[in-house]
Symmetry: C2
């Protein structure tokens, strides 16, 4: 179905999904690209172009059915799948990820946390067991998690990633500061880059 979808379009889908979810919550059941474009501060053209990478979800003279479009984008994003997820690193960020309840609700089920610290191994975070990182590879081969959130110090990341890659993981959600090569999809949350960008924008205000 999908044409060759530009990266930049794929990155806008979560935002569309989010806005449509809000509209749904407000009881709006129909919307035109024009009205949506005003809310989202993009052009109506862009919305129609973007959606038409995946198919014609609208109806001339009517617009889009909010529920159907929300569903369709959710399906494209793979949000109707159920994912088994693990978290590597029980530090501040790892704990924040493990504690966030919203993921489970969306079908991302965190089943284990891994760390190297003996005093953490055997404990629980938000009801999720903390396991020994030494057993990560074995765990993956037996439990086949889909997604690994990597929240370890930068230097430790490449080794962890190699283990994950070799044991059937489908994707890596990376919170460590390093970029690395990887054969599976990696999505990095660049916290420090984001803070530097803010610093830049404070320091160099647009005229």
């Amino acid at each position: 179905m999908a044409k060759n979808v530009p990266e930049v379009v794929a990155r806008r889908l979560p935002r569309y999904y989010r806005y449509l979810g809000e509209l749904l919550g407000q009881g709006v059941n129909r919307i035109s690209s024009r009205t949506l474009s005003e809310k989202m501060r993009v052009t109506a053209s862009q919305i129609r172009q973007d959606l038409n990478c995946f198919g014609g979800f609208g109806q001339q003279g009517y617009g889009y059915n909010v529920y159907d479009l929300h569903e369709a984008i959710g399906e494209i994003l793979g949000l109707n799948n159920h994912y088994r997820m693990i978290v590597i690193g029980a530090g501040n960020v790892g704990r924040a990820v493990a504690n966030y309840a919203g993921f489970r609700r969306r079908g991302f089920n965190i089943e284990a946390v891994f760390d190297v610290k003996p005093e953490l191994i055997g404990s629980e975070i938000n009801g999720i067991p903390v396991l020994d990182a030494a057993n990560l590879g074995e765990y993956c081969r037996t439990h086949l998690p889909h997604i690994a959130a990597v929240a370890v110090p930068g230097a430790a990341a490449p080794d962890i990633v190699e283990v994950l890659e070799g044991s059937g993981i489908l994707g890596i959600w990376n919170f460590s500061h390093s970029d690395f090569e990887c054969s599976v999809p990696v999505e990095t949350v660049h916290m420090s880059d984001s803070l530097m960008t803010l610093s830049y924008r404070i320091t160099n205000p647009k005229k």
Copy 2:
């Protein structure tokens, strides 16, 4: 000095800064755009174009001095400034931000955390006092923090932002899930968007 710098160039600066920092740590003191481009997997043209938005940092026949270029980009990013920072919300994400030691090292000094929960107010996180969110506006007017990291549930964000905006904050680092209008620079860390993008890439692998 700076020409009109495209957004997309500004967003690449932190990455250049990071790579140059690594090179510096490895004792490399000279690099050509060609060599850097191979490490960073971008084109040499792009690196030269990007840098020339800000000035000529290189030397024909030689390349770039790693230390000088790193310094120059740090200066452009405003990393030589000292920022007073506050964190709003002492939940998982707020705690992660408050606990991360790297910020202070880079000149982002977290001076207070705010929350609404009575049982948290008066406690400390990483040696930083947790104050009553009701006093946020007053605190800002007396202490003049530069940056506020907003890590509150989505629904609470707009009110917090309004208070911050009205009391002289220079920039907002937003971890909440909502986008909002704001007169000062806002940098949002879209964790859930990032996870959805990963889901998309797992579900729709490139051929």
